[in-house]
Subunit: 73 residues, 2 copies
């Protein structure tokens, strides 16, 4: 258990557009991921979303499939 403290001032946040660029998708798609709960988000008081860079990187790594590292080089 133990709920992790939300005390990370060094946590870099990304805009929807930046995340969209990383995944090569439309910003709207990123919005849907957030709505569907596939990725955590931080909303500004105005309603716009920001995403944790570490979480985005982790998601990218999770969805990344590498080819066998047989002797490729």
């Amino acid at each position: 258990m133990s709920i992790p403290h939300t005390r990370q001032s060094t946590e870099r946040l990304l805009t929807p557009g930046e995340v969209a660029s990383l995944f090569r998708v439309d910003p709207k798609t990123v919005t849907r991921w957030a709505t569907a709960g596939r990725i955590g988000s931080i909303r500004t008081p105005g309603g716009h979303r920001r995403f944790r860079e570490s979480e985005v990187q982790a998601l990218l790594a999770t969805l990344t499939t590498e080819a066998s590292t047989a002797d490729a080089r």
Copy 2:
């Protein structure tokens, strides 16, 4: 109930720029939040704004949504 524990010694004040960094927005945006009454602010005699760290942290926590722990593909 009233709260006699007014620990202002622990009450740090943040500048617009610091709050902006936490939300990954422009300092001007934080100013608009204060003007719109979305966040409480303290004005210096010169007109500059300062924000209560506890209030900012609380607001940040409220607007934060964690990703679903279940991996639905």
